[in-house]
């Protein structure tokens, strides 16, 4: 029997990027906020210090920072006619667990989505027409976000200054800036910090890409290029290119994370209480089903509690936002047979995987000295930056030389034809380890009627609740897009001096057995129509207006870029509306 706790104004389910952002804004506005985190508390000192933090076996291979999938896994299948099985080793995507969430082990690749991304359907209809869209795939269910880039610009700006993004603007108020990305959405001012120093692999890519007429620029990075104090007064340090960023926490106070940029202020706020090792199992609704009364959770000792709250924020990893909604009976679950229902609909992933460029032995790449966002890249093939009229697909990818550490257990490139083990393999690794550049293709994934999330009928978690089931394969559109760009990138690889260039590009079927991207998106998407969205433009649930589902689960389809900064922007946009409108008059912020 659950013990009922003292009521609070708001509770967050998860304390990562969105959970700490929401809690900070609301605690500062005077609300009593409780943060419930299923993982452990952890801080830069002492938890993230070396040599412990540089344990590649523990963190990269055994995934020590990721969701404990002996307790809660995700089941997976490629299509509805298959039986899904639980993913017991995270490989393809890496949901974080613990204070700070995935925003601790992220790489710091810090992009804004583009203007067209937010009006995706409208933009494509206007530029190419319905007939063209139909030719890309009848199953595609792309839609607008219900919010525009212009509305979000101030919040992108706040997010970048909060976490100290280091980059070079490419477009300030419509003026193209030399050295930046000419395709980026217009920004009001420069990044808070100058770009990171260019790596040698970046310099090789820059020369080759510029020679082919593309527009290379430094990847915006939340590994900082210099010491920085954020608007909350928190001091950050400069990145030292230690090579342990993705899958790791930063030991140097040099990566934007809740620990470095939000939590030290939040945790001192008397209106805030953090509770770690607390597993939320559902949001409780009143008898009408239209109002949440709080959440039910289990603590580390297995005790069950009911935490009453006026507002509930679902601030977990995107997949877990969707699962929480399904477990709580909020919103109509999506049915792929009828196309009706919304929760679980428009789950999207990302298309990744670029070529390996094998170089001459006299070129020492030294990629072990690197950061999480060290790229030199081009956006010429991003989003709708190029004319798709005769291509038969929508979407695009950025392309860049982004090597995040070349750590010894994970990184041993060998050219095709090399044996997978034994003496010849060892010789090939020794020959190629320091003379290979991986080029990344990274981009959009379109939503399809066939891809969705729901509750698994068979497999349950440690609390006896159904696991989330993922039904996903890349739409043909995404394959055509990725393969088209793969051809272009092979040319860049050759211009980089590649003796052997192994072509990249996404293939079907999607497999969860190798790393691709942790940018799982959608499933509880935002929009302006309750028939095709779970939340409105403020990420407020249509059906239960005192529940907000924050984060990338709200993306109607996935963007070209790594998505954290865009998550920050839509979250800050939502919080502004909550503080300025909702708190004064609780209820739906948008009337459908």
């Amino acid at each position: 029997m659950a013990e009922t706790l003292k009521a609070v104004d708001a509770v967050t389910i998860g304390v990562g990027l969105t959970g700490s952002l929401a809690a900070l804004e609301l605690a500062q506005a005077g609300l009593k906020v409780v943060g419930l985190e299923r993982g452990a508390a952890r801080f830069t000192v002492p938890d993230f210090q070396s040599p412990t933090i540089h344990d590649e076996l523990r963190f990269s291979i055994r995934k020590a920072m990721m969701q404990d999938n002996t307790k809660v896994a995700v089941t997976f299948r490629n299509s509805s006619d298959q039986t899904a099985l639980p993913i017991r080793r995270w490989e393809s995507f890496l949901p974080g667990q613990g204070l700070g969430g995935s925003f601790v082990h992220w790489n710091g690749q810090s992009f804004r989505a583009q203007v067209a991304d937010f009006i995706y359907r409208t933009h494509h209809l206007e530029r190419y027409g319905q007939k063209f869209l139909d030719s890309c795939g009848e199953d595609l269910t792309i839609q607008d976000w219900g919010v525009t880039y212009d509305e979000l610009e101030p919040h992108f700006d706040r997010m970048e200054y909060l976490i100290g993004v280091s980059g070079k603007a490419g477009n300030i108020n419509g003026q193209i800036q030399p050295g930046g990305n000419p395709f980026e959405a217009p920004r009001k001012r420069e990044y808070p910090n100058p770009p990171m120093k260019e790596t040698y692999f970046g310099a090789i890519f820059r020369k080759a890409a510029a020679g082919l007429g593309y527009h290379p620029y430094p990847q915006p990075s939340s590994n900082l290029s210099r010491p920085y104090t954020n608007p909350l007064g928190l001091k950050m340090q400069a990145c030292v290119f230690c090579g342990f960023c993705e899958r790791y926490a930063c030991e140097h106070f040099a990566k934007g994370s809740p620990q470095t940029t939000i939590l030290p202020v939040l945790l001192k706020n008397p209106n805030y209480e953090l509770r770690t090792n607390c597993e939320v199992v559902r949001i409780n609704l009143d008898s009408t089903g239209k109002k949440a009364t709080g959440v039910t959770y289990f603590d580390a000792a297995g005790r069950e509690f009911f935490q009453p709250a006026d507002i509930v924020f679902i601030t977990a990893f995107p997949l877990n936002n969707v699962r929480t909604l399904l477990l709580s009976g909020i919103g109509e679950p999506y049915d792929p047979k009828t196309g009706k229902g919304v929760v679980g609909r428009n789950y999207t992933y990302q298309t990744t995987g670029g070529p390996a460029v094998f170089l001459d032995e006299n070129i020492n790449v030294n990629a072990f000295m690197s950061s999480g966002a060290p790229g030199t890249m081009i956006d010429d093939f991003g989003g709708d930056n190029f004319d798709h009229s005769n291509l038969g697909f929508i979407g695009g990818q950025y392309v860049g030389s982004i090597m995040t550490g070349a750590r010894p257990i994970e990184f041993h490139p060998t050219p095709p034809g090399t044996p997978k083990w034994g003496l010849e393999w060892k010789k090939a690794v020794a020959r190629h380890y320091n003379h290979t550049i991986l080029v990344q293709q990274h981009g959009t994934s379109q939503p399809s009627r066939l891809n969705y999330l729901d509750l698994d009928p068979t497999y349950k978690d440690a609390w006896g609740l159904p696991l989330l089931r993922m039904t996903f394969d890349f739409p043909e559109n995404d394959i055509r897009m990725s393969q088209y760009i793969a051809d272009k990138v092979v040319e860049i690889g050759r211009a980089m001096g590649g003796k052997v260039v192994v072509r990249g590009g996404t293939k079907r079927p999607y497999s969860t057995t190798f790393y691709q991207s942790t940018h799982n998106a959608g499933g509880a998407v935002m929009g302006d129509d309750p028939k095709t969205s779970v939340v409105n433009r403020y990420q407020q649930c249509w059906d239960v207006p005192n529940v907000f589902s924050l984060g990338a689960s709200s993306f109607p389809q996935n963007i070209t870029y790594n998505y954290s900064v865009t998550i920050g922007a839509i979250t800050m946009f939502a919080l502004d509306a909550i503080k300025n409108k909702y708190l004064k008059s609780p209820g739906p912020l948008v009337h459908a």
Binding site: V45, K197, K235, Q237, F241, F253, M369
Partner: protein, 230 residues
């Protein structure tokens, strides 16, 4: 390893600006460093007027223990050469070392750096520091300070302060007065190399913090042990 890449990247990683001297050095890397000639320079100085290094640093690189002069035995050749170039350019401004460095040719610098890097000098028997100070120093060196947002020194200087050659010097066995003085040089802006790392970190440290880490690193190696980052 004859191209300039390792130098370039190493310098970038150290967070330092590339001095023209370093670039020139790497570009004309035609002859390998000669540690024997380096030993001669250490003992006798150079014809252009640089005094013998051994006068202050001792022929075995252990210096005299006062901390007025750092221990340089077994320090990485890359690091020693880079510091000499920085002394010469004024990025590291020092009334004693800057004129000496300016009197040395790039080959002189490469040779003495190679010589001292090759040495294994014993640690001098010095009076033990205050245990409480050492304990506080160990905390900072190994774990840092979350409230002040100071990362552990060992993150870069290696477990036990043994250095991360070629770019990051060892601190284990280094003289406490020397470590403390350099941290204050960074705090006050006399030492301008590593502006984004050491200068930033030094400003987070109190005088007590500095005394503590300096005391801690000096006593890590016992009397007679060999300090060598390589």
């Amino acid at each position: 390893m004859m191209n300039s890449t390792p130098w370039l990247i190493a310098a970038i990683v150290a967070g330092s600006s590339l001095s023209a001297a370093v670039l020139a050095q790497s570009a004309s890397d035609a002859r390998p460093p000669d540690p024997k000639r380096g030993a001669t320079i250490a003992a006798q100085g150079t014809p252009s007027g640089a005094p013998g290094c051994a006068q202050c640093h001792a022929f075995n690189g252990a210096s005299d223990g006062s901390g007025a002069f750092p221990r340089i035995a077994g320090q990485s050749a890359h690091y020693l050469a880079k510091e000499l170039h920085d002394f010469g350019s004024g990025v590291r401004n020092n009334a004693v070392m800057s004129p000496i460095a300016r009197a040395m040719t790039p080959d002189d610098i490469a040779d003495v750096a190679a010589y001292y890097a090759s040495l294994h000098a014993p640690v001098l028997p010095l009076p033990p520091p205050e245990p409480a100070l050492v304990k506080k120093g160990e905390q900072l060196a190994r774990f840092g300070n979350d409230e002040k947002r100071i990362q552990a020194c060992n993150n870069c200087h290696g477990a036990g302060g043994t250095g991360e050659p070629p770019t990051i010097p060892y601190l284990a066995g280094q003289y406490s007065n020397y470590i403390a003085t350099e941290l204050k040089m960074w705090q006050r802006g006399y030492r301008k190399n590593s502006p984004n790392q050491m200068a930033a970190v030094s400003k987070l440290l109190s005088d007590d913090d500095i005394a503590a880490v300096a005391a801690y690193y000096q006593q890590i190696l016992g009397s007679g042990e060999l300090a060598n980052s390589q």
